[in-house]
């Protein structure tokens, strides 16, 4: 097994909640609570989960836009958390982020060519060359630089803005691209186009993707492996086929089952999952899903289940699949 391009171990981030009369910390939002995974070079890891499960925080933690409270992030074997500011700046060339909101992610005062070129200028590329490369990349993502280069963000459609986002991320020639809900804000017809573009780019440039989404269709479309998050924790991980064909964790099952389908045979009468996602401020003890889980056992309230293997490269955090340690007489 070659070295994973990205290794994440025990990543944790809690946000303090200030309240009360004095500015005192009353509670903690446990956004990311002990997340671990690997990403092999050239693969696409899809991270799926509902709103509030910590996906966006995770994305920012990986790129060290937010400082983790605990845990290790290794890029190509190098510890990202321990990197010095200058080393971090170099690392940033290799790891890039495509943002979710196509509207807020572009500076309204810069032309899109300037936006894309800015990243290069930051790293010392001379102006003329930066402009040149920016134009080339804009063309590559489907925006003719002669027509669109001098436009401003507000003159473009959502799909076009996301293309600019992608161009900006790629202009530094990164090896890893983290995409935080890259198509969630777009119309369905445009989503497919952007996703296809991403696939093409990945093949051309030998990229590695970590794609985050709440939309199962998107995840299934592009991912090699999938990681399911719930309330800050990983509940299941495996290949895309394995998860879609035989999801093991009750939450994963509910997710796949509740995806609306055009196929009349797959339509449901009853909802597989009930209730609202609980508050990450005060998660249930033990397994966080137990309050909505139809199979909850008393065991689940005691200790959070660890990830347990259930097949080739398939792991679940659920006591249902626990191989009993010695019930041996």
């Amino acid at each position: 097994m070659s070295t994973p391009l990205l290794e994440v171990l025990g990543l944790r981030k809690h946000f303090p909640l200030r309240g009360g009369v004095l500015p005192r910390t009353r509670a903690w939002v446990r956004a990311v609570d002990g997340v671990s995974f690997d990403v092999a070079p050239g693969e696409t890891l899809g991270i799926v989960g509902e709103s509030g499960c910590g996906k966006s925080t995770l994305a920012r933690l990986i790129l060290r836009l937010i400082e983790p409270d605990a845990g290790v992030v290794r890029f190509d074997g190098e510890d990202v958390r321990a990197a010095s500011p200058s080393r971090m700046k170099r690392l940033r060339r290799d790891m890039q982020l495509v943002f979710q909101d196509p509207y807020a992610s572009l500076n309204p005062r810069l032309t899109i060519e300037a936006t894309v070129a800015f990243s290069l200028l930051v790293h010392g590329t001379p102006r003329a060359e930066a402009a040149e490369r920016a134009r080339a990349l804009l063309g590559r993502v489907g925006l003719d630089p002669r027509l669109h280069g001098q436009r401003y963000a507000h003159e473009l459609s959502g799909g076009q803005r996301q293309r600019v986002n992608i161009a900006r991320a790629l202009v530094l020639d990164p090896r890893l691209l983290v995409l935080d809900e890259p198509v969630s804000a777009l119309d369905k017809s445009v989503q497919a186009q952007v996703l296809n573009l991403l696939q093409d780019l990945k093949a051309e440039r030998a990229l590695t993707y970590v794609l985050i989404s709440h939309d199962l269709n998107v995840i299934e479309y592009v991912s090699d492996r999938v990681l399911v998050m719930y309330l800050g924790e990983v509940v299941e991980t495996g290949t895309a086929e394995a998860l879609s064909q035989s999801p093991k964790h009750p939450y994963t099952q509910a997710l796949f089952a509740s995806a609306p389908s055009m196929d009349p045979d797959r339509r449901m009468d009853r909802l597989p999952i009930s209730g609202d996602p609980p508050n990450p401020i005060d998660p249930p003890s033990g397994c966080r899903f137990r309050t909505r889980c139809p199979f909850a056992m008393p065991r689940c309230a005691e200790v959070t289940p660890p990830l347990m293997p259930v097949g080739t490269a398939h792991a679940v955090a659920c006591y249902l699949y626990e191989v009993e340690p010695a019930r041996l007489a």
Binding site: R18, G19, G20, V21, L22
Partner: protein, 312 residues
């Protein structure tokens, strides 16, 4: 929510303290000997000693401040240099007069301002809007002390309808009213302009919400729409009302100077002219405290109306 109330009250204290420090510092900023600033002319030696002791001038500055603060909190604002009367008494009387003026001016400005602003918003782009907006711009740009002078010229000197000065020494209610008309109008002009503009802008924001557009498209420009607009723009309007009331109370200096209206502004003006520092300090401190409490009240009312607004 009561937590928020407590928090705001707590935050108001440092603000008040800070304001008191500024007021205290005025004495020491003024050119000349700070002792002379609080000492009436031709004070007897005994008086000088007494003042030195009460103010603690021989002690270090922070201690002086605390001594002064302690006395202020008990209501002792010192004695006026000019009249030798306790400052608190003069300030109290003046404050009453200023409040009356500010209230009457507010009624005028708020009432007319809200009416004009709503009118402009509902008739956006048409003649009534342009008219209201024009009135607003004029209101905001006019120097109110000049407006006061013009009013005097027109109504007192030329037409002789209304008196030019004072609050009437023999206050029959009719006389009092006659005296208050011109200052009220002069003071109301700037707030009128500001309020009209803010109301218009806030109402337009609400009117452009899709829900309202849908209603209007159906032809329902009704009381319901009107109520909705009013309710939703109210928080913004309330903030401005509070600010403008404060402006009218604190900013009445100039109008009172023009009309010789015996309010805090008049007192302030006199104190400046006579270099009567204790009175100057007293008036400013009382007004500032009033203003801080007013802001607090506005914030709290807003939170009660719409708990979402609670800012940290």
């Amino acid at each position: 929510m009561w937590v928020y109330v407590g928090r705001r009250l707590l935050l108001a204290i440092p603000t008040l303290l800070g304001a008191s420090i500024i007021v205290f510092a005025m004495v020491h900023l003024a050119p000349g000997d700070p002792i002379a600033a609080v000492m009436p002319a031709e004070a007897s030696k005994a008086e000088i000693e007494a003042i030195k002791r009460t103010y603690g001038f021989d002690k270090p500055l922070p201690v002086q401040y605390l001594i002064w603060l302690g006395r202020v909190v008990q209501g002792d604002l010192g004695k006026s240099l000019a009249t030798r009367r306790p400052v608190i008494l003069d300030v109290r009387d003046a404050l009453a007069n200023s409040l009356v003026l500010a209230l009457s001016s507010s009624v005028l400005a708020f009432g007319l301002g809200i009416a004009l602003g709503l009118l402009a918003a509902f008739r956006q782009g048409r003649v009534l809007d342009k008219l209201s907006s024009a009135i607003a711009v004029v209101g905001v740009s006019v120097p109110h002390y000049w407006a006061g002078i013009i009013l005097i010229i027109v109504f007192s000197v030329q037409l002789n309808w209304l008196p030019a000065m004072g609050a009437a020494n023999d206050p029959g209610i009719w006389e009092y009213l006659r005296h208050i008309v011109l200052p009220t109008v002069a003071l109301a002009l700037i707030p009128l302009g500001v309020i009209t503009r803010v109301v218009r802008s806030a109402a337009l924001d609400v009117l452009s919400q899709e829900f309202v557009l849908a209603l209007r498209a159906k032809g329902l420009v009704s009381r319901r729409v009107f109520k909705h607009v009013f309710k939703n723009s109210f928080p913004q309007i309330l903030t401005v009302l509070g600010l403008q009331f404060g402006f009218q109370l604190g900013g009445s200096v100039l109008v009172e100077a023009v009309f010789s209206w015996p309010g805090t502004g008049y007192l302030l003006n006199l104190a400046i002219f006579q270099r009567d520092i204790p009175v100057l300090q007293g008036v400013i401190l009382v007004l500032a405290t009033f203003f801080v409490l007013l802001n607090l009240a506005v914030d709290l009312v807003q939170t009660m109306i719409d708990p979402r607004i609670a800012r940290h």
